[in-house]
Symmetry: D2
Amino acid sequence: MTDTLYSNIGYDAHTIGFGEKPGIAVVDFQIGFTDPNGPFSSALVERAICNTARVLESARKANVPVANCYTAYHSLKDMPYWKIGPVRDDFYYGHECTQMEPRTSDKNYDFIFCKSAPSIFFNTPATTLFTKNGCDTVIVMGCMTSGCIRASVIDSFSNGYKTIVPEDCVGDADERPHNDNLRDIGRRYADIVKSDDVINYLEEYRKLNK
Amino acid sequence: MTDTLYSNIGYDAHTIGFGEKPGIAVVDFQIGFTDPNGPFSSALVERAICNTARVLESARKANVPVANCYTAYHSLKDMPYWKIGPVRDDFYYGHECTQMEPRTSDKNYDFIFCKSAPSIFFNTPATTLFTKNGCDTVIVMGCMTSGCIRASVIDSFSNGYKTIVPEDCVGDADERPHNDNLRDIGRRYADIVKSDDVINYLEEYRKLNK
Amino acid sequence: MTDTLYSNIGYDAHTIGFGEKPGIAVVDFQIGFTDPNGPFSSALVERAICNTARVLESARKANVPVANCYTAYHSLKDMPYWKIGPVRDDFYYGHECTQMEPRTSDKNYDFIFCKSAPSIFFNTPATTLFTKNGCDTVIVMGCMTSGCIRASVIDSFSNGYKTIVPEDCVGDADERPHNDNLRDIGRRYADIVKSDDVINYLEEYRKLNK
Amino acid sequence: MTDTLYSNIGYDAHTIGFGEKPGIAVVDFQIGFTDPNGPFSSALVERAICNTARVLESARKANVPVANCYTAYHSLKDMPYWKIGPVRDDFYYGHECTQMEPRTSDKNYDFIFCKSAPSIFFNTPATTLFTKNGCDTVIVMGCMTSGCIRASVIDSFSNGYKTIVPEDCVGDADERPHNDNLRDIGRRYADIVKSDDVINYLEEYRKLNK
């Protein structure tokens, strides 16, 4: 019913589509969120890690630029007013929780950098990477759907990129906020697709750009 | 149940509180969204306009800086890939829908400016206003909760402000996305309060700064 | 001698060259700076206006996106701490000095917007325009070489664009700061060329993209 | 003569002054620029290191936030189009030239971060640090005056801070570009002072905020 209400007034009236030059944004796949024994682990996050790893394999084979970030701070002095206890307590430079998840990062290939806010774009060099490589499309993956993914998608859109979210490459602690945010995003800013759609597109792209 | 799950793993573990120097951010209260006969009008949006007007009266009396923005474009060339039909079709410079809502804007007092993305902070001079006036707190009001309010709150938080959202000063087409987004925001980035809480705070602030 | 010193330690070791997709940035050609009877007028500024008009004619014919900005404020509250008297006194919304120079602006074609800082990129939608149009190259023109041009060139470079400055399309009150800044810029961030070089490139580009 | 021309038309018409809450920005004091045996060393740079160390001692004693940055890249893919050979060749993560100068950095106190462009503010978390700590004043030190200092001063000004440059705390390969840029900056954006002026101010600030 809600869905009808929004589509009746013009939401989700267009599809964006894949562009000619993709870039990849992987958000917060760091031990603090990905450790299967950690507090933030969940079935959705585990699924997202596995599918993101598959997409990244295709992306790297196609020579597509990969921005891969983690969140960390030096002290409370440079940290925004987080209401999440573990972020305030643990997300400091050098703490284990700020190390990159090995399944979804390749320090030789990826551009790995620290971010200080929910969005992978907020005060980071991500756009310089994408501009330098002529990207018109950004594929956003990582966690959490209702936190840093939502923020990163808004900024990817705001920067003028065609923004694509493979829904099985983003995860959250629980299904409801995960789905609520995909709903909000899909109405306004981005196309919601499957990991296999992205892999097919990257394979096409690779063939065209050999 | 979802709420327990998130609080159990540390979300919403802190309260932010009001700071010493407030600034106001009013988002997208422009005719295209506020016209009672327009497609985006709703009971929640009408309520938000009335309460925002009350808060603004207190803010101006207390000499608090007000950033008040609207969304508009020159052409499709400078517009992000909006999936919302009416934004793509109508939100151009000079179109009636880009004019400010008279109940919530005062062109002699407010700093009124155009924005080009969901967030009132994205590529706008809002932070220069707040920095120049020494603000440590930003009160976010306007519409839509599940769109530009969500985006503006993330950026206010990211910039390092204590971020406050009076829930009866933000609106949406429907209750569910409105509430979903207040839930996500309140867990991470901002305190969710009532307009009367803000008015009381501004009155206190005014007395202290006479 | 200075020039040898800098080139000996590696400055100006590379040429950037024109890219595949240009965008244009015109900075502060507004009446406050361009009025031949105004305080900021000079032979260099007049020359820059005439040559910029010629480049813009080619750019528009080739369907190249044009970002064209002016500087203006609502009040001292939102203005940075300018040390330039006339900017502090006069550069307010609606003042004649904030109107666009007619020789170098076309409101039907150009994306004209207000900026609040020296750089055409600082907190403005310029990058969204260039990203949406796939630009890899930005040609910077306008005034003053030792002020807003210097700032805009730094940001164009920082954003990852191939940055080109046609020296006869930028001007200043006096030759010395004009030349000093072209020297600093040309060593680090941008190629310094002539307006005719840009016009030839735009003509080539037009033919290739018909 | 040039100076008269600019002051006659209103440049350098105001003094900014120190504000109530200072922050410190130290730019590019990294081994690649500070090594006395390296290509970028000079008498001016050595002098700047020594004086910056003195100012930092006062700043840390007064509990003033210190942003301290270095420039580094992952690969050419994320690097802007630098025309400076050594930056293109050597300034990569892990290279010795990207390590902090020990005389001007304290990893326990300072907020040390990587930047990717000339300005310490460009796509970095510097403003979040200063906003969170309520700073209205930024003191800029480091190197090179005609490169990253110029860029950082423009952005400090643009963000709305009172910007102070102690001239004996910034350096360059040669005196002429050093002086040219102090001249341009001092006319528009910042007060040019001495290290002792800053130390006296920080000592006053410390006493008031004990």
